[in-house]
């Protein structure tokens, strides 16, 4: 049975195709850095299934804008309502502000997910798709990679799908985590703690313990990613002894924005433990040093950010004052980001 990577996008305007392309390109590039990869085409070994939910936000906003806009348009076009035209003259300003500040930014996705019933519609779609995948592939053949807002969606939806009390009652639609354990769950840029609401993030069944719903759970947060700094996801206790945290050592930039999914997946610090699980092979541990060098050599931005990181470390030392060199290195990184 071909295993499946179930990938969950974050906030922003993602389509199934664009997110899949971003993840596949990053993983293939990452595989090519290793001396003996099982494949350099992730799709030859895994089926990539995208969980897409951006359309739910877009449809709502489009309907809202259409409805609101139509009322205003109709009202202003009626001679009988001329007296109220003054009242609705603000429509252009309002629409402009709405489009620039609210409707097209990432944050509205977060608000709509966390505080409205659209979130439950998204979770229903998630649990529906995942339960069908588990049925057809077997739970251990399903690996999840979630990014950004997708980490909160994944944690919430899995908490709903699996029964923390380990009961089996087919009428409630819940799965027993012990007998339906997933291959792995990976959080990239985890914001689940920021958006905590459906379930306490440190008590969820989505943990790697003997009673959790996943064999492995990877919690990956980049040092320069601002979204993960608000309320870091750091669960503690017996359930989390096997949690794999990757954060302190993750500081290189492979893309211009630290939050990008590609910035996470291309880095061997992140992909080496993932590939070990996905391919069940020692090749990635053995080849991680070579992969790291290839990663540096193939990404100008990574190499430039390496110098900045080293200079920051030097500045932290007593007597460290080479600000001129730091500024020069920072300018080089900035130029690359602009390019």
């Amino acid at each position: 049975m071909k295993p499946v990577l179930f990938i969950v996008h974050g906030m922003g305007n993602h389509t199934e195709a664009s997110f899949k392309s971003e993840v596949v390109t990053s993983l293939n590039a990452a595989l090519s850095y290793y001396p003996n990869p099982d494949t350099t085409n992730i799709e030859s070994t895994f089926d990539i299934v995208v969980f897409s939910y951006n359309d739910i936000f877009e449809d709502y906003l489009e309907k809202l804008k259409t409805e609101f806009g139509d009322i205003i348009t109709a009202a202003t076009s009626m001679p009988e309502l001329a007296a109220i035209n003054d009242v609705v003259d603000f429509k252009n300003d309002l629409q402009s502000v709405s489009e620039k500040v609210l409707f097209t930014t990432h944050w509205l996705d977060v608000v709509l997910y966390r505080f409205t019933l659209l979130g439950e519609a998204i979770r229903a779609r998630f649990t529906s798709q995942l339960s069908q995948l588990i049925r057809s592939r077997g739970s251990s053949n399903v690996h999840i990679i979630a990014h950004s807002l997708g980490t909160a969606v994944t944690l919430d939806a899995l908490s709903i799908l699996y029964d923390k009390n380990l009961l089996i009652d087919p009428t409630d639609g819940k799965l027993n985590p012990i007998v339906n354990r997933l291959g792995s769950v990976t959080y990239l840029a985890n914001v689940a703690k920021v958006l905590e609401g459906i379930v306490p993030a440190d008590q969820t069944v989505v943990n790697p313990s003997g009673t959790g719903c996943s064999n492995r759970v990877f919690n990956v947060n980049h040092q320069l990613d601002p979204f993960t700094k608000v309320r870091p996801y750091k669960p503690t206790g017996a359930l989390w002894a096997q949690l794999t945290n990757i954060d302190n050592e993750l500081e290189h930039l492979a893309t211009k924005f630290p939050h990008d999914v590609g910035n996470y997946l291309k880095n061997p610090i992140v992909n080496q433990p993932l590939f070990e699980v996905y391919f069940n092979s020692p090749n990635y541990n053995d080849g991680v040093d070579i992969a790291q060098r290839q990663f540096l050599a193939n990404n100008k931005l990574v190499a430039a950010s390496e110098e900045v990181i080293q200079l920051i470390e030097a500045l932290k030392q007593p007597g460290g004052n080479d600000w001129k060199r730091f500024y020069s290195a920072f300018k080089a990184v900035y130029q690359l980001i602009k390019e």
Binding site: I71, A74, E80, L117, A124, I168, P170, L175, V179, G210
Partner: protein, 349 residues
Amino acid sequence: MSRWLIYLVLLYGVASASAQTEQEYCDNLEKHHQNTQSTIHASLKPFANEMKVIQQNYCIEFQTQKTLDNADYTDINNMLIRAIEKQENVLISNSDLDNKSFNSYIKQLKSQPYIPPQGEPSYFSNREVPDGYYDTKGAVLLCYKNNTDCKTFMTDFFQLLGHSHKLLTLQDVDAAAVVHTNASKQWDQFLEDSLVQMPWELWLNSSRLYSQRQSSDNPQLLLPPSYQYIFLRPGLVYDFVSNAEDGSQNKATLMLEGLGVDAWNRKQWYIPSGISVVGLYTDRDGVDDLGWGVALRFKTKFMLGASFYGSDDTGVFLSVDLLELFRDKKETFKQYKSEFYKARGELNL
């Protein structure tokens, strides 16, 4: 070695059955057991008998639609572990397990009663271990790297247990897939058919929905609400007030639904899906500009209401679904409007 060959016979019988449909499998179960029981080696019989009970149990459930409860599940899992315990000699003599590691393995199964299917040797990077074939947790060495017979035996053993396990979980996973797929369809229907909610309405209705969640520790999926509250919702209606001066009787009127409710999935068009108390505004000669009304909504789209202006003036208003009107029927509407004003001009009203 002959024992695992016999074991393969048993495995073949079950594995080939798995390619059939549940109905065929269960129909042929008795025959299948008659054939396999006669060839099973004595040392495997206790295990095979338990397998038979599990398979029969599954078929009884399949044929009677009886559902597994938690006690059934625990019993069956315990039975599988007991079966493995009974096969200690068979397992040890065909694998690289010794008594100590076997006991360790049983202990682990009891602490986590899941028998994982094993495809290939596992790899564990964080500690030095002999090359070989491990259980899923990496805690117990089942076979050394070069012991091919052992690996074959253990792989087959786990396949058989995996098949039993699949029977155990099939019903659970099937039911979950059905429940969640139906829920997702209901949500899609809700998003498609319900009134588009203004942000403040969305907040109100979401708060009401989430207050129904009984447990935050082990949350359930919530279904879409069967009705939605309407709150400060703007709209346009055509209002006919007979007491107004000629030419002002039939006018487009701005409406604000103060408070209302609508059942979005009402099937019968002739039974109102909702009711609202509304405020009305229009610039009309001979009648107050501001009024109020009560409106009934049909099929979540169309509104019919009574309006009241001042103490004596009453009217009747009608709305069409503005979303549909302006999206799909914009041209028709423009034409209607043009004809309306043209006729009014010609009649000098």
